[in-house]
């Protein structure tokens, strides 16, 4: 019985993975034929990017601040206080900035995409789109996908900046670290590649959030419960996918950066 259940879950998971891959392929081919609806695209950039700023900035600032405090506690024991901001900077640029930004945006935007598109499906608005000779992927998925791809790196850059500034504030004003060496070491140990890796990751996470959110909305079960379930799954699946992808992207991108 347990084996049968596990088998069914694996089959469902593989079917969903296949569905998301097919949606990505459809969106990719639509992208090249897409007549840019600037109004839709700008609205999505506003919705995904501009409206996510408060939550991303707060997350970035407090992550940088707590990371500085924790790093100082450890580094102070070996007299490496002035390396504190370098750790904050590298971690924010290549790992924490993109991952935490993506997780926060997945919670805010991925859920909204699944709920909005799911409600459209339940109320036959998706059928109405199709009856009006409009492909739902062209109208609903492509603008969201482009907007998420554009917005995530920008939000991540903001998160990195406020994270470093938060870490600097804590290091200098609360922990009493000498600011010149703090800043000098940060610049010395943070490389261009760290920033580029973080932004590439953010670009990819944008696609993951938009694809999973849209897929869950387009395939949600009918009824209010179906929309609720799709919304929850969009957030959970996006978050897990981002964390798993982050591990492999770190390996691959560091390898590429090392070879260059």
């Amino acid at each position: 019985m347990a084996g049968l259940f596990a088998n069914q879950r694996v089959t469902e998971a593989l079917a969903e993975l296949g569905g998301i891959a097919l949606l990505a392929k459809e969106a990719g081919s639509s992208l090249f034929k897409w007549r840019v609806a600037w109004r839709d695209l700008l609205y999505q950039i506003f919705s995904i990017g501009v409206k996510s700023q408060p939550v991303v900035l707060v997350t970035g600032a407090f992550t940088g601040m707590v990371l500085a405090a924790q790093t100082y506690i450890q580094f102070h024991q070996v007299k490496m206080d002035t390396a504190t901001l370098a750790v904050v900077s590298v971690a924010m640029c290549s790992e924490l900035g993109p991952v935490l930004t993506a997780l926060m945006v997945a919670g805010r935007v991925g859920a909204a995409m699944a709920a909005e598109i799911g409600t459209m499906r339940v109320t036959e608005q998706i059928d109405a789109l199709r009856a009006l000779a409009t492909h739902p992927v062209d109208y609903l998925v492509v603008p969201r996908l482009i907007a998420a791809h554009l917005a995530l790196p920008l939000l991540t850059a903001e998160s990195i900046v406020v994270g470093i500034l938060g870490g600097y504030f804590v290091s200098v004003n609360l922990l009493g670290i000498e600011p010149v060496y703090l800043w000098y070491n940060m610049l010395k140990y943070t490389h261009d590649a760290d920033v580029v890796i973080g932004l590439i990751k953010a670009f990819i996470y944008g696609g993951i959030i938009a694809l999973i959110g849209c897929y869950k909305g387009l395939t949600c079960k009918l009824g209010a419960e179906g929309v609720g379930q799709a919304t929850t799954e969009a957030v959970v699946y996006s978050s897990i996918t981002i964390l798993i992808a982050n591990f492999f992207l770190t390996l691959v991108l560091d390898k590429i950066a090392g070879a260059l």
Partner: protein
Amino acid sequence: MIEARNLRKGFDTQPVLDGVSFRIENGESVAIIGRSGCGKSVLLKLLIGLLPADAGEALIDGENIVPMNERQLLRVRRKFGMVFQGSALFDSMTVAENVAFGLRRHEHLTEAEIARRVAGALDMVDLPGTENKQSAELSGGMRKRVGLARAIIYEPQIVLYDEPTTGLDPIASDSIDQLMARVRDQLKVTTMVVTHDMRTARRIGQRVLMLHDKRIYASGPADEFFASPDPVVRQFIDGVADPKEHLP
């Protein structure tokens, strides 16, 4: 011309339509009736490709749409306008944006021309001056009218109505019936209306098809159909749960 040849459709293991065949000529107006859950709306969605048929052929102007993919279907769907049971208005848009949706997507028109066409479509459905209302502000009858305006604005050859009067009071239903008749007569479109409202079927259908037991059970010109002595047809037309019961 619309033709169904031996169409079959089921959900999971439950067949809903099993060998449905009929033909509707250009300009004809046909009512499809049948009990709730008999597959009327499913049939309509098969004909426009919103649901895939399991077997059989659905021919639109001689072109079988059953094997087509979603992108190929988009071209065929431009021949159709469809009015949905729940209106299916885009709830984030105003009335004007809803009505203009098809025009903006498929035709290169100036904003002035779009506004003129939207005003014309809203006039036709007796809703002049409602362009800036949000769809959430509209009553059920108004939503149906806006749905109809959206369906006819790009002058389709075929208009499909899915339960257009369901959920409306008798007066609103009557005005929607009049509207459908006006659209049929003025635009000379092929009309298919799915309904279990006998008054709508009588007023709009020049011919009536009755779905029963997963297939077309009876069909014929409206006058002959409504005079049919067939017990199944009579039971449905008279709306009697027990056929032995005599209505006063």
